[in-house]
């Protein structure tokens, strides 16, 4: 049995670890709230955007954008969103699992794959397993800005525009609640094309609010007035639409990261507590044994006199 002193120092070291995990848990909890606020703050923009895009689809525009045209898939693009930091349980692993499963399906159809990584963890993962990574964004911080994503997204949009990729997917964690995060592969381009099952639920969620306004008074034929011209305006619109979807993904993934970290750190704190209890028991037992031994020695000594 370990000596009293050794156990004591072990207990104090675990206590220190516990302090750290508890602090991380609380930090994650407060960041999660902020991330959730940001998630809901970015929703009106995405909804408005979808409304406008829907109006556009209903309107009889003289110009059809490449983003709306379905092409045969010869090469596909993925935007994989992950966290920048670890210690958040299986969050990133789950996203990568979903990504790899979806990529493998394309690979079996001999479709090539381009990847855009967002977040340090995704870039590390693709560095290990290989893959044609064409653009890259990391260290977005706690308050990701749209600005920091523009470049990476544009690389993929350009690739689509020039016909180098024929589909564009985004992979991220969907925030269900604090305990549950669900990895999702959603198709972004072409818009409104045949969509994967996972995408449908996401689309349904996004379209809920815009449903009522599009159906009723939009049935007759009409078109917008464009300024300066249709092509330029629709280009700008669709680009922002995609960016806002990616931004939403990033913000949502951030909320998931914080929630997952909070849960992981809570269980680490609990585990440390259990370990301390166990060690404390061992320590008390050994202390008692030492006292008993000492007493019996004294008694034996006294009896011998």
């Amino acid at each position: 049995m370990a000596s009293g002193k050794e156990i004591r120092s072990q207990i104090s070291s675990i206590k220190n670890t516990q302090k750290i995990t508890r602090a991380m848990e609380m930090v994650a909890a407060s960041k999660m709230r902020k991330a959730q606020d940001r998630m809901s703050a970015s929703r009106p923009y995405a909804q408005k955007m979808i409304e406008v895009v829907r109006h556009l689809a209903l309107a009889h525009t003289e110009y059809r954008h490449t983003y709306l045209i379905d092409r045969e898939a010869k090469r596909v693009g993925y935007i994989v969103i992950s966290s920048d930091k670890g210690l958040c349980g299986g969050l990133n692993t789950n996203v990568f699992k979903e990504t790899v499963a979806s990529m493998k399906a394309w690979h079996e159809q001999e479709v090539e794959i381009d990847v855009c990584v967002i977040g340090t963890k995704a870039s590390g993962f693709f560095k290990r397993i290989g893959g044609n990574v064409v653009s890259h964004a990391e260290h977005l911080g706690d308050e990701p800005s749209v600005e920091s994503l523009i470049g990476s997204v544009k690389v993929m949009l350009d690739a689509y525009h020039e016909g180098r990729i024929d589909r564009l997917f985004v992979v991220f964690n969907k925030f269900v609640n604090t305990m549950t995060q669900q990895p999702i592969v959603a198709q972004m381009l072409p818009i409104g094309a045949s969509q994967t099952e996972a995408n449908q639920s996401r689309e349904a969620r996004y379209h809920e609010v815009s449903e009522e306004d599009s159906g009723a008074h939009m049935t007759h034929h009409w078109d917008y007035l464009y300024e300066p011209d249709a092509e330029e305006v629709i280009d700008a619109l669709l680009m922002r639409y995609i960016e806002s979807l990616v931004y939403q993904g990033v913000v949502e993934n951030m909320a998931c990261e914080m929630a997952a970290r909070m849960v992981a750190m809570k269980s680490a704190t609990d585990n440390a507590g259990d370990m301390i209890d166990d060690l404390q028991l061992v320590y008390n037992k050994s202390r008692q044994a030492a006292i008993t031994q000492e007493l019996s020695e004294i008694v034996a000594g006294a009896a011998a006199v």
């Binding site: 703050a41 970015s42 692993t93 690979h107 749209v146 470049g151 007035l225 269980s267």
Partner: protein
């Protein structure tokens, strides 16, 4: 009382304005646009500048936007504001930077995805997570 329309000004990061308005003046790409209720459908890009809102009751308010899009429906006006200054060459620059970062970060990697390796690694990570879960349950944890 003057007629009103619903005006929404939103950016990707927050909602800026959402209320009834009598008139809105915004910096269109081809010159300032003053929109009154029942304007016909219009879609325009906006420059960076000031948006002047005449709220219901005549109170004026102004917000600054760094460009964006304007959608007009007869009774609803939506301004999708950008959060950053946008210009084709700026965007191009950002795209180049993103490409370069990718090249630098992943200099010596294989361009072909090694699916066997990926699946092995993920399986390992998931097994670890499951084991942790199991150990916790066994200990009578939470």
């Amino acid at each position: 009382m003057a007629m009103t329309m619903k005006l929404n000004i939103v950016s990707a990061e927050k909602e800026i304005f959402s209320n009834l308005a009598e008139m809105v003046i915004c910096p269109g790409e081809m010159g300032d646009l003053g929109i009154l209720p029942q304007h016909s459908q219009l879609l325009s890009t906006l420059k960076a500048g000031e948006v002047i809102i005449t709220e219901q009751g005549g109170k004026q308010e102004s917000v600054y936007i760094s460009g964006g899009l304007l959608e007009v429906q007869p009774h609803v006006v939506t301004i999708l504001s950008d959060t950053a200054l946008r210009a084709t060459d700026l965007d191009e620059h950002a795209a180049q930077a993103a490409k370069q970062r990718a090249e630098e970060a992943l200099k010596d990697q294989d361009s072909e995805i090694n699916f066997a390796k990926a699946e092995a690694q993920l399986a390992e990570a998931i097994a670890q997570l499951k084991l942790i879960e199991k150990l916790r349950k066994k200990k009578g944890g939470h």
